[in-house]
Symmetry: C2
Subunit: 262 residues, 2 copies
Amino acid sequence: MKEKPLILVTNDDGINAPGIRTLIDVMNEIGDVVVVAPDSPQSGMGHAITIDSTLYVERVVLDNEKQLEYSCSGTPADCVKLGIREVLDRKPDLCVSGINHGSNSSINVIYSGTMSAAIEAGIEGIPAIGFSLLNYKWSADFNASKQYVKTITENVLKNGLPNGVVLNVNIPDIPKIKGIKICRQARANWVEEFDKRKNPQGRDYFWLTGKFVNLDHGEDTDEWALEHGYVSVVPVQFDLTAHHCIQNLNTWNLNDTEINSA
Amino acid sequence: MKEKPLILVTNDDGINAPGIRTLIDVMNEIGDVVVVAPDSPQSGMGHAITIDSTLYVERVVLDNEKQLEYSCSGTPADCVKLGIREVLDRKPDLCVSGINHGSNSSINVIYSGTMSAAIEAGIEGIPAIGFSLLNYKWSADFNASKQYVKTITENVLKNGLPNGVVLNVNIPDIPKIKGIKICRQARANWVEEFDKRKNPQGRDYFWLTGKFVNLDHGEDTDEWALEHGYVSVVPVQFDLTAHHCIQNLNTWNLNDTEINSA
């Protein structure tokens, strides 16, 4: 590479999370790094953006100033928007998000702040990757992840990504990973179990808990890859149109129907 | 219909918004209505869920008790989860969300709390529709919308929806709507312009503002339909896999590459 690529790094666990610190280390081997990340954890934020309140972004000094870093009061998607429009002088060559503490495989992509940052960058036409390790603990060991993060990132920089596509990369939490598989998103969901309690004033409240259920036993899915010791790479798009349904919906003749209600 | 369908109604503008009150009126003509909606506006929440704090849901009496209503401290996706698991005795036959005050066409689907509720219901295997009117004002006139909301809802109850698909319905804010079009999501985005200000303590802060840019002039898109006076109906899926890219990504041979960094 002639010139070093400019890499915007963000996450949803907050700027001090070990996962993003690992990601920054790897990106420093590849390009010029600027960090714009939430000042506090934002997990489960989906693709939230801040439209009804104010946003703060400020320079912070971490890590002996090896890279420029900014902490932001907003969501991961806000960080990307602010990073591109207010912090960086030019459009970055790449945006990476993570490494998330915990899985964003299969349906979790929908709830993921990590992936919302990557998708936001993708909407802006920037190649983008979200990385997640299958260990939600703060003390998770990211060492085995590093070479896979590097290989995938270098390939994205070399090959580019198609318009409208970003990568969702999940990494199994095992010391000896078998390799990388390109996958589709498994059909899975969460079966919620709300934990109902009473507050000191006697008012009921709930904690959201749940059990993950994989309904999809295809061997081409991200869940299969992860269960079998592989890093999963799912190309993710933000054109949500179910194109295969359009013809069927047209047979409903919505402009002709007169339906009598019960 | 032999038995009246059970309909879960929610939104992201809050339980008192005129849009949801209109939606409840229309649904009362079709089935048995239960409302579980946010206690305050949640616009721009994307598919956020509440995992790090507590959730309150409580019965509220509105509208002369024409239907059961619950207000919830969480996001639209939380409302659907709580509605299904804690409020309703049986799985609803339909979930409708809206009518949103403001557009959720094209890329807005990604940021939309209204659509996140419909998608959450879809993940649970419940037919679901998000409705939005192209007028963000509280005083918007929902009258012209009503017959279209009713026709589309009745057709969904009659025909069902394919697994993994929900509908994103946007309604132009004009008195004489031309009809309904099945569409694909237009390729469009927001060009952000952050409004930078100083707070009374002299610290910089930002307001997110922006300009919507439609990059897609296809006549089969939701933006085209809306501009030309039609209600747009986009089938939306939550399998985000860009299936068309998998073959291409496999040519990268990620397990063989050894790349020398710069």
